[in-house]
Symmetry: C2
Subunit: 122 residues, 2 copies
DNA sequence: CGGTATCCTAAGAGATACTG
DNA sequence: CAGTATCTCTTAGGATACCG
């Protein structure tokens, strides 16, 4: 089975974890150095505390994030990317770049598509 | 705002459409030529008819797929990638490659993570 | 500060019968 | 063949109060 489609299927599981709405934001936010929980909460805009925690755990479990706890008086927890995640970040930026370049076209395509459907409410 | 995080946020919307569990499979399946509905139903394994339709519409709306209907006696509908989508496919293969290279490590990381948590049920 | 725990709503997703 | 319509169940996700 060198068939790319057959290969893709289980991989999509992996991608599902990695390319999730929030995962990408978290990875990007952690890309340039260790980040603390509250920093993430601020930087990954729109995320709720719950979702942040869940995604953080998921990424940690998948071996993409390292969670370091400093047992100081005000607790300090830092998240940093593993090498694997850094490599992913590279691929991600490709995707990010694509999205950036084409989001205008996508918005236009949507508008055009909708224009051809909705007003047909004869 | 050259801040990559701030930039990433609206883009994630785009990615959300494009990097969805099924979208990737569909794009990959359509990458090497026009594909028919039933072909997709078979190739994107595990997808339900409903989800296939919904995702197909979504991708068409975003200007990533072109839907061509041949008004023949048995209806024939073909889906093919737009140039934009082909470009995306390139970025996607990068991600796919990453996932392929690391899924073993990810599985291991998961096992290790779980091993350190679950048996602690003292 | 860095989370859990809890509650609730909306969206995602499967199955499948029906239709032009 | 290529969908649509429906029904149902499971998650994703938001809000927020509380705790070590």
């Amino acid at each position: 089975m060198t068939d790319p489609i057959a290969e893709a299927c289980p991989i999509v599981e992996v991608l599902d974890h990695v390319a999730g709405k929030w995962s990408i934001g978290i990875i990007v936010a952690a890309a340039d150095g260790p980040v603390r929980f509250t920093e993430l909460e601020r930087q990954v805009e729109g995320i709720s505390r719950r979702m942040l925690t869940l995604n953080l755990r998921k990424l940690e479990r998948d071996g993409l994030l390292i969670r370091t706890v400093y047992p100081t008086v005000p607790p300090r927890v830092e998240y940093s990317l593993t090498d694997m995640a850094r490599e992913l970040y590279t691929s991600l930026t490709g995707l990010l770049g694509w999205a950036e370049r084409h989001r205008g076209s996508i918005a236009q395509a949507r508008a055009a598509y909708d224009a051809g459907k909705t007003p047909a409410a004869v």
